[in-house]
Subunit: 909 residues, 2 copies
């Protein structure tokens, strides 16, 4: 141990440290400054950025033996506090630079280090700095961060007053449609918001630290599990195995279509008979410290009989493959599409027919934060599990039978979460936490390191797609056929639903009178499929939006124009036979047309043999909601000081707090209430009603309507005969209830039938994307130099939130197009390895245009937003690569070597 003295944020500190400990760990776990976040622990993410002796450093890479005695350390806590924010922090808040907020403290520190060394940087210098220092953000697409830093610099240079930077409530008091900074912004920019890992450090002393014993193979029979040696290790309280799990020891997928050949009980909490994928949990070591738990986990002996591992849908679907779940075929679900007349004769007779095959990869969510949670018994004896769940009530029912706990004795709470983007639509560690808490009867805490998080949480399921389209001589679509396999990994949860998404989105946006297709869900031994932003649509659009370009080329039409003539107009129907609720696409494409032309000309002008430039365009569509009759609940209560809104609008980082506040404030504005009088009590099944999961861009619509409904009930109850409002005291005095249960249901919807036909969503989002790329023909590397999006997401609740969603979703599309994958379980289990985009990878020329067509069924006309930007931006890039080089990438991502291979193939021709 070393006795180290240094000055942290101006305070002298002496602390006894392991010389091998990282500065980040010492700052967080010994100095208890939890503003500094740690995730990758490998220098990839920048969340742990601190200034050490005047130099910006990644604290996770600095060993304590290298920190000089007397060193000066600056963390986010030393830059500003909630009551005295630094201009950088103010700018981050008002420019929406903090979404999930997990990278934010590191970003703020990095920006501080930049602006104290270079007070007047250009935007490019800011972007280069963030890139150089590995400050990764997965939410914002970097643009709001760069904007914020540029504005903060003005204040720091004395060119702008801090007051002029700060948000000001408009005179009419209305925040709906404006740029009110999200309620958690201050906490996020000051590092005072406690995420799961921070709450973990603040647990009671009797909390056990958990470590998993995990499979290091992808498919095996379990012969024996021997915990005896581990039980004897220092600090070990108990080693929990499947034998300790009181219930069915299975997580149920719940929503299982009748035609599904599985029963949904395929996912073990702790493996008992088989290992189904790499990383599967076999035992949980519960010890006093995490180091002890990890050391003991290595001592658990597991005897396995290894089985053939099926690492892709085609492999698992092959005739000779054994059943991964004995008794259930690996191809366990099929979704047909039958719309309009038979396609066969049309395909035979149409003037233009094109077909192709595509593969969209296993995209990793790459949240900056990994996965962690904790469990304990609450004061009512309820097993209470805190996690990053974005489906609290959903998960409650998914894990209760497996744990053997009655649902009313189970309580789920979402911790502030450093990004999910959908992976937390699946339970990850919830049931493990529950099992360990039940077995030990002590509070328990579990944290996955980044590798564990990558290897043992769900991923976007790859689709293998064959697609064929027919058009008439004018380019009007006549028919479409498709056949796709969904690699859903070993666990079936929502696999059927995902397969249905293909039926809904392949070819969406265009009026296609005849469709025949089928999708099949395949169990494999690769990472299980979980939700991911725009769930099912990036796969679908890769096929149809690529093929539309191929069709246009065949016909000799411009890619934009073929889209324009086929886009939904009155009379069109979706692939599921539904009438669109609005028709935004033509106006979007009209708006896009001049920008597209200009981009094409620029590309042509700037192209060189070494750097070929090109332009690609796509449209994207996504429904808001769960399929069919979806609904939500929210409670609204008048209090002495204002109004409290209770809901489970879970937050990925997208801004559920702002969504709730903006909607509630608009609904309550007649009362003259101020935003800060509205208190949010969210994401705890112990206190808030079931608002449904936060996925499928449903929350603003469903929960927004429920909030509005609750608020309207309250306002009605408060309204006196003369039109004025009762005060809280008057309500109490008159015995009028102060709490109202808001509810809303999309009863106009219907589920899709066995032919994929129905009205699954009341509201859709519509968009169009324009990508401008440059391809280096020597390296094959593609750079996105500009990106423009058109978006109709209905009326906008909060501009900062929707901008953030759009920029961030498109940035994930850029990663999807060019760099991201989780194919190699080892190589792709780090942030860098899995291809996370840094600031340099996302263009600074990045524009969003909104078309605020009010939705009849949306609260105050709003639709959702989150999925839209990741429907098809990657295909716009793929199309642009083709436009630039003539190389069509069918198997994503478009790694440089693939582009290079394509270029080489072309040369002989």
């Amino acid at each position: 141990m070393l006795k180290k003295s240094f000055v942290v944020n101006g305070v002298n500190q002496t602390v006894i440290v392991d010389p091998e400990a990282s500065l980040a760990d010492v700052i967080r776990k010994q100095l208890h400054l939890t503003g500094t976040k740690v995730s990758c622990n490998d220098g990839h993410c920048g969340a742990c950025s601190v200034v050490l002796d005047g130099k910006l450093m990644l604290a996770c890479l600095v060993k304590m033996s290298k920190v000089k005695d007397g060193a000066s350390i600056l963390t986010v806590e030393g830059i500003g506090t909630p009551e005295k924010m630094h201009p950088i922090q103010v700018a981050f808040a008002v420019y929406g630079a903090a979404q999930c907020g997990f990278c934010t403290p590191g970003m703020v520190v990095s920006a501080y280090a930049l602006l104290t060394s270079n007070p007047n940087p250009s935007r490019e210098e800011v972007r280069a700095w963030l890139t150089k220092h590995h400050n990764a953000c997965r939410c914002t697409g970097y643009k709001p961060i760069v904007d914020g830093i540029m504005e903060a610099a003005k204040v720091m240079r004395g060119e702008m007053k801090l007051e002029d930077l700060q948000y000001k409530l408009p005179a009419d008091g209305k925040i709906w449609g404006g740029k009110y900074p999200r309620p958690t912004a201050t906490a996020k920019v000051t590092g005072t918001l406690d995420y799961g890992q921070d709450l973990g450090l603040k647990m009671p002393a009797n909390t056990l630290q958990l470590a998993l014993v995990q499979a290091k193979v992808s498919h095996a029979n379990i012969l024996s599990i021997d915990t005896s040696e581990a039980e004897k290790m220092p600090g070990v309280f108990k080693v929990v195995t499947h034998k300790d799990v009181k219930g069915k020891n299975r997580i149920t997928g719940l929503i299982t279509f009748p035609s599904n050949k599985g029963d949904g009980w395929d996912r073990p909490i702790l493996c008992d008979t088989k290992v189904f994928q790499y990383g599967d949990a076999i035992a949980i070591v519960c010890a006093e410290t995490s180091e002890q738990a990890r050391a003991a986990a290595d001592k658990v002996k597991v005897e396995l009989e290894e089985l053939p591992a099926y690492m892709s849908a085609p492999a698992a679907a092959a005739d000779d493959a054994i059943e991964i779940h004995p008794g259930t075929p690996n191809v366990y679900f099929e979704q047909k599409v039958v719309k309009g007349p038979d396609t066969k004769p049309i395909m035979e007779s149409a003037p233009y027919v094109v077909s192709d095959s595509f593969y969209l990869q296993r995209q990793p969510h790459l949240t900056i934060e990994s996965d962690m949670g904790f469990a304990y018994y609450d004061e009512q004896g309820r097993l209470t599990i805190h996690s990053k769940s974005i489906g609290l009530y959903l998960h409650l029912y998914m894990i209760a039978p497996g744990l053997g706990v009655e649902p009313d004795k189970l309580r789920l709470v979402q911790n502030p979460s450093g990004g999910t983007f959908g992976y937390k639509f699946s339970p990850t560690m919830e049931a493990l936490l529950g099992a360990a808490c039940i077995a030990t009867q002590r509070p328990v805490y579990l944290e996955y390191d980044y590798q564990q998080y990558m290897q043992y949480t769900g991923k976007r399921s790859p689709f293998w797609l064959d697609i064929k389209m027919a058009a008439d001589k004018d380019g009007k679509l006549l028919a479409m056929e498709h056949d796709y396999l969904v690699d859903h990994g070993p666990y079936s949860e929502f696999g059927d639903l995902l397969t249905l998404r293909g039926a809904q989105y392949i070819g969406a946006g265009y009026n296609i009178p005849s469709i025949r297709g089928r999708g099949r869900t395949v169990a494999t031994n690769h990472a299980w499929g979980s939700a991911f932003r725009a769930y099912g649509s990036p796969q679908s659009f890769l096929a149809s939006e690529s093929l539309m370009d191929e069709l246009a080329e065949k016909i000799g039409m411009d890619p934009l124009e073929i889209r324009y003539i086929n886009a939904y107009r009155p009379g069109s129907t979706t692939p599921t036979g539904q009438d669109p609720e609005v028709y935004s696409l033509p106006e979007m494409l009209e708006k896009l047309r001049p920008l597209y032309k200009e981009a094409k000309e620029k590309a042509k002008r700037e192209s060189t043999p070494e750097n070929k430039k090109g332009v690609g365009v796509t449209i994207g569509i996504y429904g808001c909601g769960l399929d069919g009759v979806d609904g939500s609940e929210a409670d609204v209560e008048l209090t002495a000081n204002g109004v409290t809104v209770y809901n489970t609008w879970q937050d990925h980082g997208q801004g559920a707090d702002m969504g709730t506040l903006g909607t509630a404030h608009e609904a309550l504005r007649v009362l003259g209430i101020k935003p800060d009088q509205i208190k949010l009590d969210m994401n705890d099944t112990g206190t808030a009603p079931n608002s449904g999961p936060s996925g499928g861009s449903r929350s603003q619509v469903m929960t927004g309507n429920a909030i509005k409904n609750g608020c309207e009930q309250l306002v009605a109850a408060m309204t006196k005969k003369d039109g004025t409002f009762r005060t809280y005291d008057e309500m109490v005095k008159e015995g009028i209830p102060t709490k109202y249960h808001g509810k809303w249901t999309a009863s106009m919807n219907s589920n899709c039938d066995e032919n994929g036909q129905g009205k699954p969503f009341a509201i859709y989002m519509y968009g169009a994307f324009l990508a401008e790329v440059s391809v280096n023909t020597k390296t094959g590397k593609t750079t996105v130099e500009g990106f423009t999006a058109m978006a109709d997401i209905g009326k906008i609740n909060n501009k900062l939130v929707v901008d953030g969603q759009m920029y961030g979703g498109i940035a994930q599309g850029i990663g999807l197009a060019l760099s991201e994958d989780f194919e190699d379980i080892q190589k792709h289990s780090t942030m860098l390895g899995a291809g996370i985009p840094y600031a340099k990878d996302i263009p600074d020329k990045f524009d969003i245009y909104y078309f605020e067509n009010a939705r009849e069924n949306g609260p105050f006309g709003a639709a959702g937003v989150g999925e839209l930007p990741l429907t098809s931006p990657h295909v716009a890039i793929v199309n642009a690569i083709y436009n630039a080089t003539g190389v069509r990438i069918r198997h994503l991502p478009a790694y440089p070597e693939k582009v290079l291979a394509g270029l080489k193939e072309m040369k002989p021709a």
Copy 2:
């Protein structure tokens, strides 16, 4: 467990808590806000004061189940930070209101709560508030705190600018003799100084938490120790007993006089054959959490054969008492005094002879902080022990053989300490920490709760004294005889030295030509004797300064006048036959005379039958240093940025940091150096040389001289021929050493011989005390209404520090006189039970007058200060009680019931 959300210092916090946990523990151990201190854990001390929902609360008494969801909590961290201090914090710093600083955060919070509810309080209102809210301070005597609060209030009311409150460096840059706030002041007033308990919370995760198995009887043979059940308890790593101690398992007293009948090896580290006093440590449970360690400690089974417990010196000295340490008589040391001609004939012939018997009680130190420490192996493999030790090198050699560690493999470090006042001159837990660290090879942390601290740390040793004095017809002293027993508890360390103090201080201040006396050291089974401010002199002066009043009365002289005529003047010698180095007492008494007269008249005027008022006067004297040839070392190093001073001037809270800085700055001032360029590297035997223990007011003299010497060597080395100074770079370039070893030795001293004669100290401090009391004749309660002190402590280094020492020492004298004791092991083991004085118990009329007679052997003329104020202030109070009521209290403390009993005895007469 409860999920609680509240707002702490403006930050939203959610934390999972045990409903039975205290708010203080949650704030410190879960929210990691260590500015809030916890010590008594019983609502007695106020260190944990916080504002909860607008109300000042003792956080240790608030259970989490009672904290409302959404509550607002303000801790010291929320009031101000080092970089943005609140006016209260600035005022505390510049008024010297923070000495050890442990009560300070609570005081600051309390003051904040007061001034936000009452912006313009009177001094009495401030004192009443602090009393009501149990804000105890053991260092300052409250006056500097009240001063600070009154000034802060002016700033808060806008009547004074904050800048006008702040310290300003004088134009000549000189801080010696001024009011420079001590270097740790900012950290103390902002709650950012980490004490042992805070550092304990910042230890590495693999640190074991220790709990002691302690004796619940005072004297017993140990038959067996069974740890088997405890070893099986959750989280237990090891239970350490005497069998695990590698060395002699004894702490040696080191300084043992040849005539001592013991060998100094009487104190076990962990009891093996016997229990010697209540609380003795029998085993150490080492577990992952402190709760687990405590739970397992209850499971260790110790079989005892109880023996007669000797709880006082007379009981243990009785003929029929068995030997506490078999082989060593209970009366194990005797110190004679033989000065001048035989006293016997003088006593027979003198015109005035008086004699009486006195008892001074077992005064507890009542530091606000309890005792805690930790140990680990450093990077050089040295067993490193952090504690509150005020004798780092001393303790190193006292514990090394017992632990079986070579001294060069042992390193001792002092943590910032919340007061010691001498109890840490003894090792407390150092050897226990070392034994546990050796046995487990892991870092270990041990903390005593307040009861353990009271019961298992040393106390001031009671003296039982018989004294006789003779005077001539004019009141001139002719002779003195005394005989006293020292109850030193079971452990001999420094017991002989303490006994010698009686020879040095009984009758000190007066020229007494003939003295015969003896003191005997007795081993008992009550709390072992440790150092306590003014070590040995409060006992001595209780006898001689009480008897001087009795003599004056017999002669019919005024108590002040008899002191005046007998006080040291040229030609006088001390009881040890030494010539005083200065003669301050006559001038002090002259200065005191009009104040004394005025006080007497006031008392007479205001006395009523119910509240009798009176005045008492005493003189006090104390030597600066260890007996005989004492010395110290300090290193001084030129660095690129300034100068670093290395020493082990350990800090009780007295201001070792300021002592070092003030002395070094004065010695280096020729260089034009600023105070903040002088860095202090203190109190670590791994980095700093042996400055000797911090006791006996020796440090300013001994270490001050060593610092001065080191600085002078550096300045000489830096001086160029032209009288200008080399820079650091020039020194390095010229190859001139930059680090100098300062050293100083008081070689003019000599130890006292077997007759108590010698020149033990080069420098003495001189003082006179005037107490004004009011005695309620119905309740017997004495209130000190005014206190005046005259002090010659040589030239003053820092005015804030010496004021603080004087006020605080006298306040401890008031407690000693009226309320403090540690006799009843249970009842007296809490702060309240042991009689700590609160603000209401210390007068606001409290004046100090300095007589800055330069000392030839003091650095820049300085003497020490810390012991002087506790030499005899209690006797001034006892004399004042007599003056008021005619009741003489001979057995301290002067509890109301004793005064009442005295009043009742008088009535028949």
